[in-house]
Symmetry: C2
DNA sequence: CACAGCGTTGAACGAGCGTTCAACGCTGTG
DNA sequence: CACAGCGTTGAACGCTCGTTCAACGCTGTG
C-alpha cells in the first residue's frame, strides 16, 4: 500500500531475484516467462534487462545467492565445537528455515541444467563444496560411533533430498510453520525412526502432532 | 542395430512415454521439445500426434503410468503380513528399483503443475492415495512402538523426498547400482542414523563402502 | 533554466516450438 | 491388379516469448 520509496539498484536486483525464484519454483525455468517475473513486481519486462543481461543470468544469480547463504551456514556450523549429531541437527534446522523463509523455497531445486556449461560448472563446484561439508560431518559421526556405519555420501544425498523436497509440498499459508517442519525433520533425519525395545527416546519437544 | 521389427501400436506408445520421461527429466516439461522426444526414437514430431493428442497428454500418460506401477507396489506391500518396519523397508527397496530401472528416474519428479486443472486433479488424487498408504504404514509402526512417536505425515514426506531426489544425482553409468542405493536408503530411512551407546546395530549386509 | 543521466517504457523483431494437415508408401486383402 | 487403411512424412502456420532499442520523464546539479 505505502507507495514504494525509490529502491537502490542493488535492492531492486534482489527483488527481481525473489520474484524470479518464486516463478521458477512454480513453473520451472522454461515454464516461467520473463514477463511473469516482471509483472509480479509491477514493472515491464523490458526493464528487467536494465538489471540483468538475460534470463539465464537471473537463474544464475538465484543459484549464486542461495549458495552464498547455504555455504555461510555451513561455515558457521563447522566452526562451532559440538558433536557431529548436534552439528547435523543444527544444519538441518537452519537449512529448512533459510529455505522456506528466505529463499522462496527454491535453493537447489530449480533447473540447474538450464544453465550453459560455463555457468553450470561454477554452480556445481559450489554445490559440491556444500555436499562435501555435509558428508564430512556425517563421516565424523560415524568415526566417533555416534552414527551407524554406512556410506556418508548416500546419507548426505538422502538428507538433502528430504529437505529440498519440502519445496514441493510446503504451503506458506498452511498450518505447518517452517520451525515445526525443521524440528520434525531434524528429529527424524538425525534421531532415526526405529526404536529398539527398551531404548530411551531421544529428548523431544512435546510430541509434535 | 537389429532393424526394429514393426511394433504394435501399444508398444509404440510406451516407447514414446519412455523417451518423453527421459527428456522431461533432463530438461523439464517446458524445456523438452516434442521434436526432441521424437528424434530420440528416430521418428518425426508430426508422427507423435498419431499416438497422442498433444504434449500435455504425453505428460499425463507418464504420470499415469508411474502411478500404476507405484500403486500396484503399494498394494503388494500392504497385502503381505509382516511388521511395519519390514513393510517400509520393502517399499523403499522396491520403489528405488522401479524408479531407477523402469521409470527412467522420473516418477513423481516432473512438473505436475504443467498439467491443466482437470488432469492435475486426477493425478494428485492418486498420488495422495500413495501418500496415505505410506503414512498408514508409518502410523502402524508408531502405534506398535517399533517407530518413535512423531508426525507420520512428515516422516512420509521425508522418505518420499529422499527417494525422489535420487533422480537428481543418479547416473546409470556410475558405479552405484540401483540395488546398492536401495539398500543404503532402506538402512538409513528405516534403521536411522544415531546409535545409542551399547545398542546393537541392526542386521546389515557387509558394511557398504 | 539548461543539461545530464538513470530508470523506465512500449513497441517491434525474430526464433523456436506446438500443432495441423494433405499427401504418400507400404502391407495385406478380395 | 485394385483397393483400403494404417503409419508416416515434411512443410506450413501461428503463437509465445526472449531480447533489443529508440525515446521519454524525472531528479538533481551548475
Amino acid at each position: 500500500m505505502a507507495p514504494a520509496p525509490t529502491l537502490a539498484s542493488a535492492d531492486r536486483r534482489i527483488e527481481i531475484l525473489k520474484s524470479a525464484a518464486a516463478a521458477f519454483r512454480r513453473r520451472g525455468y522454461h515454464g516461467a516467462s520473463v514477463d511473469e517475473i516482471a509483472s509480479a513486481l509491477e514493472m515491464t519486462k523490458g526493464n528487467l534487462y536494465y538489471y540483468f543481461r538475460n534470463k539465464e543470468e537471473i537463474l544464475y544469480a538465484c543459484h549464486e545467492y542461495s549458495l552464498d547463504v547455504l555455504l555461510a551456514l555451513l561455515d558457521d556450523v563447522r566452526a562451532d565445537a559440538s558433536t557431529p549429531d548436534q552439528k547435523l541437527r543444527r544444519l538441518i534446522l537452519a537449512f529448512v528455515h533459510l529455505l522456506l523463509d528466505e529463499l522462496q523455497a527454491t535453493a537447489l531445486t530449480i533447473d540447474l541444467q538450464a544453465l550453459s556449461p560455463p555457468l553450470l560448472r561454477k554452480i556445481i563446484a559450489r554445490r559440491d563444496a556444500f555436499d562435501r561439508g555435509l558428508r564430512e560431518i556425517i563421516q565424523q559421526g560415524m568415526d566417533a560411533g555416534t552414527f551407524a556405519p554406512g556410506n556418508p555420501k548416500m546419507v548426505a544425498f538422502a538428507v538433502m533430498g528430504a529437505v529440498n523436497w519440502i519445496t514441493k509440498w510446503y504451503d506458506p499459508a498452511g498450518p505447518l510453520t517452517s520451525e515445526a517442519i525443521g524440528q520434525a525433520f531434524a528429529d527424524y533425519l538425525v534421531g532415526g525412526l526405529t526404536r529398539m525395545p527398551g531404548e530411551p527416546a531421544p529428548p523431544l519437544p512435546p510430541p509434535a502432532r
